[in-house]
């Protein structure tokens, strides 16, 4: 297990979501699944970017809705993935859109995974547990997300 958060430390989640019901449900579901977490909410795309660029602590994972006020989810995703200090943070698209177009575009913009909001609370709970287990139990993440900065700099210089 080489997951980023230290054992026992709560997972730091940035939830980018404008629907109050969904915000409530997401908190509820993580709490019910007994996943130690702190959820920070950004209710629109601009706020999400502000929070990400301003914060000293990067979140461990970003749950990103697509339909958002101001900057939409895809714009937010694009900005995250083009910022060397942010791009290593897993971004999970969490949306109700099943449209092929949205799925394709999200992966084109380097989303780490795309999840269609489960319709029942039960399924949502399962999804939360799977997300937690996968990203913080299975996957290896860099301990310093900004580490790819130098490589990126070189690439930019070369271009």
């Amino acid at each position: 297990m080489s997951a980023a958060p230290i054992e026992g430390k709560p997972i730091d989640i940035l939830l980018v979501e404008d629907n109050e019901g969904d915000i409530f449900l997401t908190r509820k579901v993580f709490e019910k699944a007994q996943i130690k977490n702190t959820i920070t909410v950004a209710e629109d795309g601009e706020k999400a970017i502000e929070l990400l660029k301003g914060a000293a602590d990067r979140p461990d994972i970003i749950l990103l809705d697509i339909n958002l006020p101001k900057k939409d989810g895809k714009q937010v995703l694009e900005e995250i993935k083009s910022d060397p200090s942010l791009r290593a943070i897993p971004v999970v698209i969490l949306t109700s859109s099943q449209a092929e177009k949205d799925i394709l575009e999200s992966y084109d913009l380097h989303a780490n995974s795309y999840i269609i909001k489960p319709v029942t609370l039960e399924n949502f709970g399962e999804v939360a547990a799977v997300v937690e287990n996968f990203w913080f139990g299975v996957v290896a993440l860099p301990s310093h997300p900004g580490a790819s900065k130098t490589q990126d700099k070189q690439r930019e210089d070369a271009a």
Binding site: G21, L25, K28, K117, V119, T120, L121, E122
Partner: protein, 375 residues
């Protein structure tokens, strides 16, 4: 070819006969034009005048191709020659929709019928013309409004999912956290809400999927219909195993369709055949195909419960169900989706059935040149 006109009309009646014929030609709504074997216009009735905007004297004696836009204009001499040599015409005796050219240069759709007449040893052709601009326009409008309706259904069902998900989820929370403090009646109300929300989620989900069959562009490719039918069987493995159904698949051809939709079609039809089985009879299902020249005729037949003839049309209507929810689950979208898929392939779907004996679902897929045949 029609027989030559041999019947002798008594001389004294000929004048009367010709006069009556002329009255018919003058009053008939369709345009009627006669030409000789070189394509030269011999007669042009008042309806033709109205349709094309030419006076008879402007066109009689001229070649009929002046009434045709390209490419017919250039090819018409060839058509006549070809017909006279081979006896095989593209329009003669069949009739078809073609484009025609008015005097003012405008092009319009018309329905054209041509028949051959042999008069005193000379070959003549009679063309009957009906201007179908209005019908075409109505058809286009219908198509547009159908497309709009589909877009509406897509958007509505998509956007309805959001609030519905909230209703369902918060009902589940309420139920989970407060069930203990509710009295029996409140609990019963909760059950009704939960059940209704679940059903509506099913329907909205199905509606969304159904409308996507019309909205999203589906690519066509050469599809081995036999292997795709077997894939459908694999997807139905559980239910086939459980019911010990026997499914026999004939030799099926390569067809030009959208593979995902064809799979879905087969899965729905075979799934239905298993679902509507007779309780005491092991399901016996056959998938076969018949070569009908221009198209393939697929059939999926079963030995299930069947249905009365009066329902054979209704079953293809969205959300139409013949049975209560207790007996058979589902929203009633399966066959509506099948119809939409088949129509997307430019085919037709229908069913034949005998109550208590079984049903057969037929659908056609037009033959298009598959890449293999073209090679």
């Amino acid at each position: 070819m029609p027989p030559e006109i041999k019947n002798k009309v008594p001389q004294e009646n000929i004048a009367d006969y010709a006069a009556r014929l002329e009255t018919v030609l003058k009053t008939v709504i369709d345009g009627i034009i006669t030409i000789d074997s070189r394509g030269t216009i011999q007669s042009f009735n008042p309806s033709a005048e109205r349709i094309f905007g030419y006076r008879p004297e402007e066109v009689i004696g001229r070649n009929v191709k002046i009434l045709m836009p390209e490419p017919y204009h250039s090819e018409h001499d060839g058509y006549i020659k070809n017909y006279l040599q081979s006896g095989q015409g593209k329009v003669i005796g069949i009739g078809r929709e073609v484009k025609a050219l008015r005097k003012d240069g405008s092009v319009f759709p018309m329905e054209l019928g041509i028949n051959q007449m042999n008069i005193a040893g000379a070959v003549m052709f009679v063309g009957t013309i009906r201007d179908i601009s209005d019908r075409k326009q109505a058809e286009d409008e219908l198509l547009r409004s159908n497309e709009e309706l589909e877009r509406f259904a897509y958007i509505a069902s998509h956007d309805l999912q959001e609030p519905l998900r909230m209703v369902a989820n918060f009902t589940a929370l309420l139920d989970g956290e407060y069930r203990g403090t509710m009295d029996a009646q409140a609990g019963e109300y909760m059950d009704f809400i939960t059940d209704a929300a679940r059903r509506m989620q099913e329907m909205v989900g199905d509606l969304l999927e159904y409308s996507r069959l019309g909205c999203e562009d589906a690519g066509f490719s050469d599809v081995n219909s036999e292997s795709h039918t077997k894939m459908a069987l694999a997807n139905l493995y559980d239910v086939i195993e459980e019911t010990e159904a026997s499914v026999r698949i004939g030799d099926l051809p390569v067809i030009h369709v959208n593979p995902v939709r064809f799979l879905r079609l087969m899965q729905n039809l075979i799934g239905n055949a298993v679902k509507y089985r007779r309780e005491d009879v092991r399901p016996d299902i056959r998938v076969e195909v018949e070569d009908r020249g221009r198209e393939w005729l697929f059939s999926v037949s079963d030995n299930g419960i069947g249905m009365k003839e009066e329902y054979l049309q209704q079953i293809f209507i969205i959300f139409k169900r013949l049975h209560g929810k207790k007996d058979y689950q589902g929203t009633g979208i399966g066959l509506a989706a099948c119809k939409k898929i088949v129509e997307g392939f430019e085919g037709k779907i229908w069913a034949e059935s005998r109550p208590g004996e079984g049903s057969t679902f037929y659908f056609t897929v037009p033959k298009k040149e598959t890449a293999r045949q073209a090679a």
